[in-house]
């Protein structure tokens, strides 16, 4: 199966058909009656030094994907390759070694730091576990890291509750950097922060990426931040990647109807410009009971939506160079018109790009 890859250079991280289901247990004996398909066959690559954003709304599976890659949650199936190493087959000791190279920064600055440890101890932990430095050398390294993220080194003895949300987030970043990773999963790192603080942390992440050549999997739901920091963007819905494209392309010409709706929903700080919105009907279906065929079809506003959409699971295919989308109604598509008609299709594919999905670009 062809998969969206960045380019010819070997990707740093390669994810194929990653799946994570959570069993639903009922009854006294805990009989499994269904599966919550949190992540349902996700594939993508991340090149060294690039930022791939993973966007979507709550319940789409983006956080689960990030954690599954690091094996903080074990995937149900699929493959994860990091720098050629098969991550899912590693045992304890080998996995621990690999952990140095793949790190994570969490969303909630209040629960991502151990309240009983000073921030210096928190940042030092990684150095001790992997025997990177000890004693005075470790202290020096901790001071260096704190400075690098913009905190005064003398605050190393203080506890997390003495700092603001933005500062705690910086501590989390310092902790991730302490083991010198080449890849960091940023799980909604700025969602819980004020706007001006968000800006500070985003700038910091960009500086660090430039200085250290880090690759990021940037998980977020805020499309404006994502446009600012990402090189490529993958849009997730109900456990599937429905669109993946370089950032300018995604925002200028979103192909997947869900992406179009998502972009149109972002409030624009332009008063007086009453933008028409694509309002999606209803709520996101439960991942325990996803719709058949295309998971988005019940809420889709594409004019060619028909019965075929409920039957055929759209493959993620390349609509333009580097631009992948899962929609059988947006040409070009490998699902032929005959196949669609056989599945009950009545409207042939036609390209649809509503103005409501577009924001004025600079």
């Amino acid at each position: 199966m062809t998969v969206p890859a960045h380019d010819a250079t070997r990707p740093l991280l390669s994810v194929r058909d990653l799946t994570r289901h959570f069993p639903i247990k009922r009854g006294v004996f805990g009989r499994v009656t269904g599966q919550v398909r949190a992540v349902d066959g996700v594939s993508f690559d991340v090149a060294p030094g690039e930022t791939l954003a993973l966007v979507g709304e709550s319940g789409c599976g983006k956080s689960t994907t990030g954690r599954a890659i690091l094996r903080l949650i074990e995937p149900t199936s699929g493959a994860v390759t990091f720098d050629g190493i098969d991550v899912l087959s590693l045992d304890g000791a080998e996995l621990r070694k690999l952990r140095r190279r793949m790190q994570i920064v969490f969303q909630d600055p209040f629960s991502s730091l151990n309240p009983r440890m000073s921030i210096g101890a928190i940042v030092r932990e990684g150095l001790t576990i992997h025997r990177l430095a000890e004693g005075g050398a470790a202290d020096a390294r901790v001071r260096q890291l704190l400075e690098e993220v913009g905190l005064r080194p003398e605050y190393a003895t203080r506890y997390p509750h003495e700092f603001s949300g933005g500062q705690r987030q910086r501590v989390g970043i310092a902790r991730a950097l302490s083991v010198e990773p080449s890849f960091i999963v940023c799980d909604e790192p700025v969602s819980a922060l004020d706007v001006s603080v968000q800006a500070q942390v985003v700038n910091l992440l960009q500086d660090l990426q430039r200085d250290r050549g880090l690759a990021y999997l940037f998980i977020a739901h805020d499309l404006s931040i994502v446009e600012h920091i990402a090189d490529r963007v993958a849009v997730m819905y109900l456990g599937h990647i429905v669109e993946l494209a370089p950032v300018e392309r995604l925002y200028r010409e979103p192909v997947m109807p869900y992406t179009q709706a998502l972009l149109s929903a972002v409030p624009a700080p332009e008063p007086g410009v009453k933008r028409e919105r694509i309002l999606l009907a209803g709520d996101v279906p439960s991942p325990a009971n996803p719709p058949s065929g295309c998971v988005f079809h019940p809420r889709c506003q594409h004019p060619a939506r028909d019965a075929a959409c409920a039957k055929i699971v759209p493959p993620l295919e390349e609509k333009a160079p580097g631009h992948w989308a899962a929609c059988i109604k947006q040409p070009p598509t490998s699902v032929s018109w005959e196949q669609q008609q056989a599945a009950g299709g009545t409207k042939p594919p036609e390209f649809f790009l509503p103005r409501a999905a577009l924001h004025r670009s600079a």
Binding site: E57, S58, E147, G150, R152, S164, G165, G166, D194, V195, S196, V197, Q198, A199, Q200, V202, N203, Q206, H221, D222, L223, S224, I225, E227, H228, Y251, A261, L262, L263, S264, A265, V266, P267, A268, P269, E270, P271, G272, K274, R275, R277, L279, L280, G282, D283, V284, L358, H359, R360, S361, A362
Partner: protein
């Protein structure tokens, strides 16, 4: 000029804590007209939520509204009301929509019961009348199959639906004013769009005024006619929405606008506001923003700026209004300088 619906003058709400007196709201004045949607923008610690709670007199010890504060609603002095009269106002004439729909709803009662409760308290409705009203409200807020939904419990509904229920509860008695405190922050962006659209539509139809509290300037731009920017317990700028975005005056507002990434905007480094909000127990003398301001000069430390009139309906709490030439000489804010020297 008609009498404003809500007039707040010189509101001070202080919290008396072990660490000192936190002056959460420190001299805030504004008004909301009939049918207007006014936005209150600010970040954590600016006092916007406490302001909302103060209006409804929901502030509990160790917090209290200081004497000298004036709050007039529909011509009546809110602070002079007895608690029972105030209860008659809450949910009836002024309704509140909170940020977290899950905690705003009681998990052990059906949504129909909770909406109906408002009618039973304020309109003396019977159980049957209240239930009918609940279904009518659910329909109004666009919840499909309202008869069935009314019998469901909050946990059975999604976040967006719950927020619709909360809005339904707020609208039961057709209040003159709704105070919405970050009503969509906890929701996904597509749901947020739905909810804001709903709120705008309903308030337009019913003529309800809205005090919309948020940190999201984008939400403000699309929904409010006037904006109040708060910082460190004070109003630092007030203007019509168009004026605020086109001609922001106060450096904090400028900073906020600069720090916001926008879809379709430029991709350089985001402008940031260095430093952090000072502590409410210890507001600095003079201008509270001066340490983080790129234009501040000696006067800012010495003299607390009043609200200057910039243009019709546009005020700003900044000495630049008096000495605009200073804007030509920006410098790195003190907060950034101090930090750099310690690194």
């Amino acid at each position: 000029m008609t009498t404003p619906l809500l007039e707040i003058e010189n509101l001070h709400t202080y919290f008396y804590t072990d660490n000192g007196v936190a002056r959460a709201v420190d001299g805030v004045s504004f008004s909301v007209g009939v049918g207007e949607t006014v936005g209150v923008v600010g970040e954590s610690g600016c006092g916007k939520s406490v302001t909302a709670l103060s209006i409804l007199r929901l502030v509990r010890p160790p917090g209290r509204i200081e004497p000298g504060s004036v709050m007039r609603f529909e011509g009546r002095d809110l602070l002079g009301l007895e608690e029972r009269e105030m209860q008659h106002v809450r949910g009836n004439r002024i309704a509140m929509v909170f940020q977290e729909p899950m905690t705003a709803l009681n998990p052990v009662f059906t949504v129909g019961d909770q909406i109906g409760e408002v009618a039973r308290i304020h309109a003396n409705a019977s159980k049957r009348e209240a239930w009918a009203k609940a279904i009518e409200m659910l329909k109004l807020v666009g919840i499909p199959a309202p008869e069935q939904r009314a019998g469901e419990y909050p946990h059975q509904l999604s976040g967006g639906m719950r927020q619709r229920v909360v809005i339904a509860m707020a609208l039961v008695m057709n209040p003159a004013l709704i105070i919405a405190d970050e009503p969509t922050t906890a929701l996904d962006v597509t749901i947020q769009a739905q909810i804001l659209e709903l709120l705008a539509d309903l308030t337009r139809r019913l003529g309800t005024s809205v005090l919309l509290i948020t940190h999201d300037l984008g939400v403000v731009a699309e929904n409010c006619t006037r904006v109040i920017v708060m910082y460190a317990g004070e109003v630092v700028e007030e203007a019509s929405t168009v004026d605020l975005f086109a001609r922001a005056h106060h450096p904090y507002t400028e900073g906020l606008l600069g720090a916001m990434p926008r879809v379709g905007g430029e991709k350089d480094r985001l402008a940031t506001i260095p430093g952090t909000v000072p502590a409410p127990t210890d507001w600095p003398k003079g201008c509270r923003f001066r340490d983080r301001c790129p234009y501040s000069w000696e006067r800012c430390a010495a003299e607390h700026p009043p609200l200057y009139q910039i243009a019709g309906g546009h005020t700003s709490r900044c000495h630049l209004a008096d000495e605009p030439e200073r804007r030509q000489h920006p410098h790195p804010p003190l907060a950034a300088q101090r930090g750099a020297s310690a690194a």
